[in-house]
């Protein structure tokens, strides 16, 4: 299934919308398997592009989540604390955090849906 075109993607399998909502991709949740815990930063935390800001724990592994762009956390999706399975059910709807993007031009360097899907299929073929 192609990734939604209303947002941008990273090679670390995060998505971000123009208003600064961040989540992990459907491909990411699929590779991780059943997610059992999501650890997110508090509102007010400053994020740096490319640095980890939280973790997703599945039955298989614990993985870092990286900031697609720099910014400040405005809200975290607290519902995931008790219902992390929402990420498995619909990764593109179950957002993790909302941030105030520091420099909107950083968004330009991210992947489009088509480029991300191409990247994933190449990675799988490797």
């Amino acid at each position: 299934m192609p990734s939604p075109t209303d947002r941008k993607y990273t090679k670390e399998h995060e998505w971000i919308t123009a208003d600064g909502t961040i989540g992990i991709t459907d491909h990411a949740q699929e590779s991780l398997g059943d997610i059992v815990f999501v650890e997110l930063p508090k509102a007010g935390t400053d994020l740096t592009k490319g640095k980890p800001f939280g973790t997703v724990e599945s039955v298989k592994a614990v993985s870092d989540i990286y900031a697609p762009v720099s910014g400040t956390v405005m809200a975290a999706n607290d519902a995931l604390a008790t219902a992390p399975e929402q990420v498995n059910k619909d990764a593109h709807a179950a957002w993790l955090i909302k941030i105030k993007v520091k420099d909107p031009s950083e968004m330009n360097a991210l992947l489009s849906a088509a480029d991300y899907d191409k990247f994933v299929s190449e990675e799988a073929g490797h």
């Binding site: 059943d34 059992v36 724990e57 039955v59 298989k60 399975e85």
Partner: protein, 501 residues
């Protein structure tokens, strides 16, 4: 016995059910009886006041036979190396020879105390000194600490020394290079010591890509952490070049000694350019693993790192006796209470002495032979992602079976039905759906044949009835566990049923 195919290894057997010992409790029951008091009774309430604890909470009150049966029954549910092959790759689950246990129980050793004066601890010190000398001979290194309690703590100690060394040179440096085939503890250690971790890609033969290393190497790199043979069971054939590339830019080569069982008596890390490494006595040197441990993770170094070894170190004093040297101003400090897990030093030394140099070399050859026997036996049945020669372990993938929806974890669950402990699943990460198999030298050919037969039989089951394998295990006390529910809704504490009003 639910099997599609014949298994010669396991059969059905009555197994006793057993609850928690707390559930067996009934008030007043006891496993002991004291003689009548022949001194005046002490009034504890008067002595202790408010500190006296009247209610002990849920302490189980049971008879002696109930305690004996409780633990004996639970013990029959275990799988152990003493029951059969334990092919958990990367863990080197070799047999723990009974002579080790015999020596460790010798009265003077078993009853020794770390606070004993040095002059009456000469025997214990001699064991530490002799083991140190043997390990240095085996690794080709210059100095060693026996203190770290396990492999991961050995890594931490090793990298603390790397950092201390670079600081003494005026620059702690910034990062540690780690191949993508590494054990997860390596990046964790680097991060704990305050270094950034930089990933190093493997080449198509499953080895460190020397050209990539040359491109990534610079004076910000404190060290490269490499496992050799690596987690694919492949010997890093260009390890000399790797060492040279690091040394040219002032970096150090750290070797994770987890796979030393493939090298003892054959190749010495000190000779191929390693500056610092840890050993796992509970892997290579046959001391017990995990709950049967504790572990032990000595760290051996080249001369340039010896000033930074943890305190104390064993030395020969001017009068010829052995003692501890605490006066080491550049040391990274103590990493473990007293002198490490001394009981493991006795066992490891017993193993080294019982084998001797030729025996240890034979052990290495047998470990490699056994892994290659399995490789040959299962080649063509399971996908072999790297054709580079295997050392002490072999890594297959579930590529063929996953076409029917059966993954490495499912195959492993089914292997339990055949009477084996599973192999390591889904590691190393560079192989999708990895089956990592390490038989060790302990296994006779007969057991290896049973294992190969079981794995072949499972592959046939996947072709005939994949769902049957997906539902495995079928013959265990409890069938497939819901790992997701266990993680999402864990029940961590037993609580007594509310008592009737």
């Amino acid at each position: 016995m639910t099997t599609k195919h014949i298994t010669r290894k396991a059969t059905r057997h009555i197994s006793q059910n057993e609850g928690l010992i707390f559930e067996k409790s009934s008030p007043g029951k006891a496993a002991w009886k004291l003689p009548p008091l022949d001194v005046p009774e002490v009034d504890t309430a008067k002595l202790l006041g408010k500190q006296e604890r009247k209610d002990l909470g849920n302490m189980p009150e049971v008879s002696e036979i109930e305690i004996m049966r409780h633990f004996t029954r639970l013990s029959t549910w275990n799988y152990a190396i003493d029951l059969g092959m334990y092919p958990l790759g990367s863990c080197t689950m070799k047999y723990n020879p009974r002579v080790n246990e015999f020596v460790a129980r010798v009265e003077g050793l078993a009853n020794g105390h770390p606070y004993q004066a040095e002059k009456i601890s000469q025997g214990a010190l001699q064991i530490m000194k002799t083991l140190s000398d043997c390990l240095l001979e085996i690794t080709g290194m210059d100095a060693i600490t026996l203190q770290p309690a396990a492999g991961a703590q050995g890594e931490l100690t090793g990298l603390l020394m790397v950092r201390a060394y670079h600081e003494s040179q005026g620059n702690a440096r910034k990062k540690i290079l780690i191949p993508d085939s590494a054990h997860g503890t390596n990046p964790a250690t680097a991060a704990t010591v305050g270094y950034a971790v930089e990933n190093l890609k493997s080449n198509d033969r499953g080895m460190v890509d020397v050209a990539a290393l040359a491109a990534q190497m610079n004076e910000d790199v404190a060290a490269l952490m490499v496992t050799n043979p690596n987690t694919l069971g492949v010997f890093e054939q260009e390890i000399h070049k790797i060492a040279d590339l690091l040394h040219e830019k002032g970096g150090l080569l750290y070797m994770d000694g987890a796979n030393m069982n493939a090298l003892v008596g054959k190749a010495r890390p000190g000779d191929f350019g390693v500056d610092v490494m840890h050993l796992n006595l509970h892997k290579t040197f046959s001391t017990p693993h995990g709950g049967g441990g504790p572990g032990s993770g000595p760290v051996a170094v080249k001369k340039i790192l010896s000033p930074f070894l943890p305190t104390p170190v064993v030395i020969t004093k001017a009068d010829g006796t052995l003692g501890f040297d605490y006066n080491r101003p550049q040391s990274v400090g103590r990493v473990r209470a007293f002198y490490g897990n001394f009981g493991m030093f006795i066992r490891a030394l017993a193993y080294i002495f019982a084998n001797g140099p030729d025996g240890l070399r034979q052990t290495t050859e047998d470990a490699v032979l056994n892994a290659n026997y399995i490789r040959k036996g299962l080649e063509g049945v399971y996908d072999l992602p790297y054709s580079t020669p295997s050392m002490h372990e072999v890594v297959f993938s579930d590529k063929v079976q996953s076409k029917k929806g059966v993954k490495t974890m499912d195959l492993a669950k089914r292997l339990i039905d055949y009477g084996f402990h599973p192999y390591t699943t889904a590691f190393p990460l560079i192989v999708a759906g990895a089956l990592m198999i390490e038989p060790t030298e302990s296994e006779p050919k007969e057991e290896l044949d049973l294992f190969i037969e079981a794995m072949k039989s499972i592959a046939e089951e996947v072709e005939e009835d994949p769902q049957f394998v997906l539902d495995a295990p079928h013959n265990t006390r409890i069938s497939r566990l819901d790992e997701t529910a266990a993680a999402r809704k864990p029940i961590l504490r037993w609580k007594p049923a509310p008592s009737a009003p």
